[in-house]
């Protein structure tokens, strides 16, 4: 825990870290389900959440078999909540996997560019999945048909003629956002639109215009 976390805890001391993590996890999940491109992996948050889930599963394993009806009901509550958390985490990971599968080369390039950032794009496990899956695909393509082509046509990431072969998501896609902190006037590039974004507003706007503020926590996707 660093000093920022400590300060944050003092200011909203009535709300537990667990509840704050649930808010953050829910927000990340919704964002990942809605945003057209993959978002940076929230490593600290996921570490805390997964660790808690692991401990809760151990608790359930310890206490099943206890036939006391009171403990039994407590276990039902704990297990119901556990399942809800597992659903959240699973759906979050699967939404990310879908994007990784859809645009592997684009995401690989972006991950490499973000490797030195505070928050890399992919988790180590996702990166491993992406690279080994790509390696398998590449060798399969090469052995089944690519090797029959002339050498100049064998590349999978050709950019000749000004058109890149690497597919990428539509970053200008429209999304629904809620304003969490006043942002001020926002200009949509290429149009006359000037939006005055105030706390509590809900807007339909282009993802590419919004992503900076979503990353800083001033906006959230809904």
């Amino acid at each position: 825990m660093d000093i920022d976390d400590l300060l944050a805890e003092v200011s909203v001391d009535s709300i537990s870290q667990e509840t704050r993590d649930l808010q953050e996890l829910t927000r990340s999940w919704v964002a990942e389900r809605v945003a057209p491109e993959i978002l940076p992996w929230p490593s600290d948050l996921m570490e805390r959440v997964l660790d808690r889930i692991r401990r809760q599963i151990e608790l359930v394993e310890d206490q099943t078999g206890n036939m006391d009806p009171k403990t039994n009901f407590k276990l039902i509550v704990i297990q119901t909540e556990l399942e809800r958390f597992k659903f959240l985490v699973r759906s979050f990971l699967r939404a990310r996997l879908k994007k990784i599968d859809a645009h592997p080369l684009h995401i690989l390039a972006r991950h490499a560019a973000s490797a030195t950032d505070l928050l890399p794009l992919l988790s180590p496990a996702e990166h491993q999945y992406l690279t080994s899956h790509q390696a398998l695909l590449t060798s399969h393509y090469a052995s089944s048909f690519l090797s029959q082509f002339p050498a100049s046509l064998q590349r999978m990431d050709d950019t000749t003629g000004g058109i890149s072969m690497v597919d990428k998501p539509d970053e200008d896609a429209a999304v629904f956002v809620r304003v969490l902190r006043d942002v001020g006037e926002v200009a949509v590039e290429g149009t006359d639109k000037r939006l005055e974004m105030k706390r509590g507003d809900v807007w339909v706007v282009r993802w590419s215009t919004m992503r900076g503020w979503v990353a800083s926590g001033d906006l959230e996707l809904i």
Partner: protein
């Protein structure tokens, strides 16, 4: 493995989020405090009221271990006042007032983690998950309402009035997006998402070449949106 669903939230997923809303219950049985993953649960001592997440309230209700206190806005009086507003005025009725902003860069809470549906929520505004929460409570705990049928009828009226507005709002859509929809509800966003984003994206693709030309002209005139964003960042600090 990968999620087969298109972008956007499905109705069950929206209901899942709504189940995290806090509601007020009157427990009928004692329950010891629990360390849950989403934060500690205080001990339940009948007949003391307590605010707990909706999923737990529904579980306790189903086992007849608690009664649910419907939020103040979910009463015939409040709903008819809001319905009157919705039918007379062109915009959605305003959402509940927000709590003060936490200082600095700490986490800002938003629905379903704002207490918009507890017994001491405001009576004159619909919270974000109004439709989902209302229907779930009416289904699971109709006997906890004074007049469940009237509430049901008013909810349906509200839903129709608001859907009509949502459909009318399509006329203002254009390629740049930038449509303000304050007061919209969670399920309404879910329903309208595919259509609205489809229209905005479609119009943008049609006008793409004109927009590209304009972007180039703007850049030549020394305007750059990335610079613009950096400036804003500086202002905030």
């Amino acid at each position: 493995m990968a999620l087969p669903l298109p972008p956007g939230l499905t109705p069950p997923e929206i209901a899942f989020i709504c189940e995290m809303e806090l509601v007020t219950i009157i427990p009928r049985q004692r329950l010891e405090g629990l360390e849950l993953l989403g934060g500690p649960l205080k001990p339940l001592n009948p007949p003391q009221r307590a605010s707990i997440p909706l999923w737990l309230a529904l579980l306790l209700k189903r086992q007849r271990r608690a009664n649910i206190v419907p939020p103040p806005w979910l009463s015939p009086d409040s709903l008819s006042a809001i319905l009157k507003y919705e039918t007379e005025i062109d915009a959605f009725s305003p959402p509940p007032r927000l709590p003060p902003l936490p200082s600095g860069t700490s986490l800002v809470f938003s629905p379903p983690f704002l207490p918009g549906s507890t017994a001491d929520a405001t009576a004159d505004a619909l919270p974000y998950h109004w439709l989902e929460l209302g229907s779930m409570l009416l289904e699971a705990a109709p006997e906890d309402f004074d007049d469940a049928n009237e509430v049901r009828k008013l909810l349906r009226g509200l839903r129709e009035a608001r859907m009509a507005k949502l459909r009318q709002g399509v006329e203002v859509l254009d390629a740049g997006g930038g449509v303000k929809m304050n007061g919209v509800g969670g399920m309404e966003v879910g329903e309208a998402r595919t259509f609205i984003t489809g229209v905005v994206d479609g119009l943008r693709k049609i006008g793409k070449s004109r927009e590209e030309a304009r972007k180039e002209r703007d850049r030549e005139n020394g305007y750059s949106p990335s610079q613009d964003f950096d400036d804003d960042e500086m202002d905030m600090r």
